[in-house]
């Protein structure tokens, strides 16, 4: 019979040591809002769960001069209530409001959400607009990886055996003045069919810089670089006309994950309309 156990280390050093002892059968559990349903459905069958909830250091949302560092046990609700996130990373606050339901937000964590790497995650597109990094620790040391490189596909990341994600770091100088986040989902609380985060800077009605990220029925959440570079320099009032004129958004077309219930044409049109509408909201300060 398979042996299984929940382990409750109190420090990060203990977590790493347990990881080494337990081997490949161990999984780290933070809020558990993705992992526990996966265990219940038989999609994940870990031998050991290493529970981070007794590691006090990992609950912190910490601001330095140039960054905000969100610990692995900081729940989405705590992020929503954090004045530092509200004031300094509004795009993350907008996205956090759309995460699932209050029940899930009370326990689900941002770092856990990133490690789960669901392409429909609400938080990942916002973090991509912030050029966020994930901080990984193992017995061999620390490394930080840009989220765009960390997530490789649906539910796939470059995390190595024995590594624990301890935080996500957002650079404050990457934050723009105008931001918005929107999603298309079947009902409130659902994962998005299409999600979009937009972060813009404009000067005298002209777009100075633009970051657009999308997620949903894609291989992974991505930055829409082909649109971003084309709208920089455009007058703000011409953006919607420009998006309407784009026949195909190549970066999205290449990433769409085939789905039996929704056609590629429907998904392309949905993404196009969602980007247009999110840009419009960002420009109007909604």
């Amino acid at each position: 019979m398979k042996q299984s156990k929940v382990l409750n280390p109190k420090t990060l050093a203990e977590v790493l040591s347990l990881f080494e002892q337990c081997g490949d059968g161990a999984r780290v559990i933070a809020g558990g809002q993705s992992l526990v349903p996966m265990i219940s459905l038989g999609l994940s069958e870990p031998d050991f769960l290493i529970n981070l909830s007794s590691c006090d250091d990992l609950f912190v949302i910490k601001k330095t001069r140039k960054t905000i560092n969100i610990g692995a046990m900081a729940s989405v609700s705590e992020i929503l209530n954090s004045s530092q996130v509200i004031n300094l990373l509004p795009i993350l606050n907008f996205a956090a409001k759309k995460v699932a339901t209050p029940h899930v937000r009370n326990f689900g964590t941002l770092v856990g959400n990133v490690c789960h790497a669901d392409p429909s995650s609400d938080l990942i597109p916002a973090l991509l607009c912030l050029d966020a990094q994930i901080d990984l620790v193992s017995k061999d040391g620390k490394r930080s990886v840009l989220l765009s490189e960390f997530i490789t596909g649906p539910y796939s990341t470059t995390i190595r055996g024995g590594e624990v994600a301890v935080s996500v770091t957002c650079q404050l100088d990457k934050q723009s003045k105008l931001a918005s986040y929107k999603k298309v989902a079947r009902r409130a609380g659902d994962l998005g069919i299409a999600t979009c985060a937009v972060s813009l800077d404009s000067h005298k009605d002209c777009i100075e810089s633009a970051k657009i990220s999308v997620g949903g029925y894609l291989r992974k959440a991505i930055r829409v670089l082909d649109i971003e570079k084309n709208i920089v320099g455009l007058p703000a009032h011409e953006i919607c006309t420009f998006i309407d004129g784009v026949e195909k958004i190549e970066s999205i077309e290449n990433s769409i994950l085939p789905d039996g219930s929704l056609t590629n044409n429907y998904l392309s049109a949905t993404f196009s309309r969602l980007i247009r509408s999110t840009l419009k909201d960002a420009l109007s300060g909604k």
């Binding site: 929940v6 558990g32 526990v36 209050p102 029940h103 899930v104 009370n106 409130a188």
Partner: protein, 149 residues
């Protein structure tokens, strides 16, 4: 600690809180719905915050204060919510109601002195599905209970 009482339990390591509440401790008011954190029938309060008990591992909850719908005997706020549900006829088959009552209880606890508007309430009830679709009366009853508090 469940409803103010400490319960020593021997369970399987990955049993969910919902399984332990129902099968080991006999708190049958907390319902099994979807089992994957979608429907809200299993809502309980953990340290005053609403949570899907089907998405939490019981052995990670040993030092937490858990409240189920059975705590209504000692909680006048839950009794007021229940009274409003009766007055508004907000119960049809009743399966989702314990979860909804606990979600509203959690909202009142979290809100403190903040006024609870219909928009806030509806946002909070996103995680509770009523298969009978009796949402209009559920929202009406919940809002009256929130305003009373």
């Amino acid at each position: 600690m469940v409803n103010g009482v400490s319960h020593p339990v021997v369970c399987k390591p990955f049993d969910t809180l919902l399984t332990v509440l129902r099968e080991d401790l006999g708190y049958f008011g907390t319902k099994f719905g979807c089992g994957i954190g979608y429907c809200g029938a299993c809502t309980v309060l953990i340290d005053g915050k609403s949570a899907h008990s089907c998405c939490l591992i019981a052995t990670t909850m040993s030092d937490r204060k858990i409240s189920t719908i059975e705590s209504c005997d000692d909680d006048p706020v839950i009794q007021k919510i229940q009274d409003q549900f009766l007055k508004e006829g907000a119960i049809q088959c009743g399966y989702c109601i314990p979860g909804i009552v606990m979600t509203v209880r959690g909202l009142i606890e979290e809100s403190g002195q903040r006024v609870i508007t219909e928009e806030i309430l509806r946002g909070h009830l996103d995680g509770n599905i009523c298969r009978c679709s009796g949402y209009a009366s559920i929202v009406r009853a919940s809002l009256k209970a929130c305003v009373d508090e």
